[in-house]
C-alpha cells in the first residue's frame, strides 16, 4: 500500500530503540496482556455494532425505538475504541516496523476510518427513529448496517493478518 518511505523507516528505527519500546520488547507478559485487553475491547465493539446493525436491519429490538437501542449499545462502540487505540499504540511502540510498515496494518486503519464514518451515519439514522416499529429500517439503513458488519469483520481479519504479513 504505502511505498517504502525513508522517514517512516527512520522513525521506526528510532522508536524501536526508545526506552518504552525496549521495555515492551523485553518484559514477556506485556504484549500478551495488552492483546487480551485489545481483543476483549473488540468483542465489546463488535457485539454492540452487531446489535445496532440488527436494529437497522429490523432483526432486533423493533419493539423499541432506534434511540433506545442506540442509547444502550452506541457507548459500547465508542468508548472501547479509546482502549483499542491505547493498547494498539503500545503494540506499535513494541514493534514499530512490523506494524506501521505492514500492509495489513495500513489496511486495518483504512477500514477503521471507514467504520467510524459508517457508525456516525448509523447513529444518525437511529436517532431519527424516535418510535418503536420498523421506521428507520429503510434501504439506506439496511445498506449502512451491512456495510458496518463488513467493515468490522474486515478490521478483525486485517488485525489478525498483521502477524502474518
Amino acid at each position: 500500500m504505502i511505498p517504502n518511505l525513508p522517514w517512516l523507516n527512520a522513525f521506526c528505527i528510532w522508536l524501536e530503540h526508545t526506552r518504552p519500546s525496549q521495555t515492551i520488547q523485553t518484559v514477556p507478559w506485556i504484549v500478551p496482556t495488552v492483546q487480551v485487553i485489545h481483543i476483549l475491547s473488540i468483542a465489546a465493539v463488535a457485539a454492540s455494532a452487531l446489535m445496532i446493525d440488527l436494529r437497522l436491519l429490523g432483526a432486533y429490538g423493533i419493539d423499541q425505538s432506534g434511540r433506545r437501542v442506540a442509547k444502550r449499545f452506541l457507548p459500547l462502540v465508542w468508548w472501547p475504541i479509546l482502549i483499542l487505540l491505547a493498547t494498539g499504540l503500545i503494540m506499535i511502540v513494541g514493534e514499530p516496523g512490523r506494524s506501521l510498515k505492514n500492509p495489513a496494518f495500513q489496511l486495518k486503519m483504512a477500514l477503521l476510518a471507514g467504520a467510524l464514518i459508517v457508525t456516525v451515519l448509523c447513529q444518525r439514522r437511529l436517532r431519527r427513529a424516535p418510535t418503536a416499529g420498523p421506521a428507520g429500517t429503510g434501504v439506506l439503513a439496511r445498506s449502512l448496517a451491512i456495510l458496518s458488519l463488513l467493515l468490522w469483520t474486515g478490521i478483525i481479519f486485517a488485525g489478525r493478518w498483521i502477524a502474518y504479513s
Binding site: P32, Q35, V36, A43, A47, S48, A163
Partner: protein, 164 residues
C-alpha cells in the same frame, strides 16, 4: 501413551497436513476463529450484564436470551469448528500446552455454568424475568460466565506465546 498416539494420528490426517502446510489456510482459519470468539464473548456478555442487573434493564431477561443467544451459539459453533482445525494442524504441540488444556477446562466449566442456569436458576425465570435486578443466583451465574469467557480469551491468547 494413548493420548499421544491419538494426537500423532490426528496431526497426520490429510486435513491437518493441509492446514499445516498451506501458507494462507492457517491465518484465514485463525481470522474466522478470532471473529467467532469475539462475537461469542461480546454477545454472551450482553446477557451476562443483564443477569447482573447492570445493563439492558428495560428488557426482560428471557426475551434478551431468546434474541441474543442464537448469535452466541452460531458464533460458538464456528469457533469450535475453526478451533478444531487449528488444533489438528499441530495436535501434539497444542495437546501438551498448559494454556490450551486450561482453555478446554474453562470451556467445560462455562458449559456447566450454563447447565446450572438452565436447570436450576432459570427454572422460575418467569417470576423475575422483567425485574431490573435478577435474584442473586442469576447474578452469580452471570458473573461466573463473564469471568470464565474473559479467561477463555486470555488463555487462548497465551497459547500463541507459549508454543515452542
Amino acid at each position: 501413551m494413548a493420548l499421544d498416539d491419538w494426537l500423532h494420528w490426528l496431526e497426520a490426517t490429510e486435513i491437518a497436513t493441509a492446514v499445516r502446510e498451506n501458507e494462507v489456510l492457517f491465518p484465514w482459519i485463525e481470522s474466522v476463529h478470532v471473529l467467532a470468539i469475539v462475537l461469542v464473548i461480546g454477545t454472551i456478555s450482553i446477557v451476562d450484564l443483564r443477569l447482573l442487573g447492570l445493563a439492558s434493564r428495560d428488557r426482560a431477561v428471557s426475551r434478551l436470551i431468546r434474541e441474543v443467544l442464537p448469535y452466541t451459539w452460531g458464533a460458538f459453533l464456528v469457533a469450535a469448528l475453526t478451533g478444531s482445525l487449528l488444533f489438528c494442524s499441530n495436535a501434539m504441540t497444542y495437546g501438551h500446552n498448559f494454556f490450551f488444556r486450561g482453555k478446554l477446562v474453562l470451556l467445560v466449566l462455562a458449559g456447566c455454568n450454563m447447565a446450572v442456569f438452565h436447570l436450576f436458576v432459570g427454572r422460575h425465570i418467569g417470576r423475575w424475568s422483567a425485574a431490573p435486578q435478577p435474584p442473586w443466583s442469576a447474578k452469580t451465574t452471570g458473573a461466573v460466565s463473564l469471568g470464565l469467557w474473559i479467561s477463555v480469551v486470555a488463555f487462548g491468547r497465551w497459547i500463541g506465546f507459549t508454543l515452542h
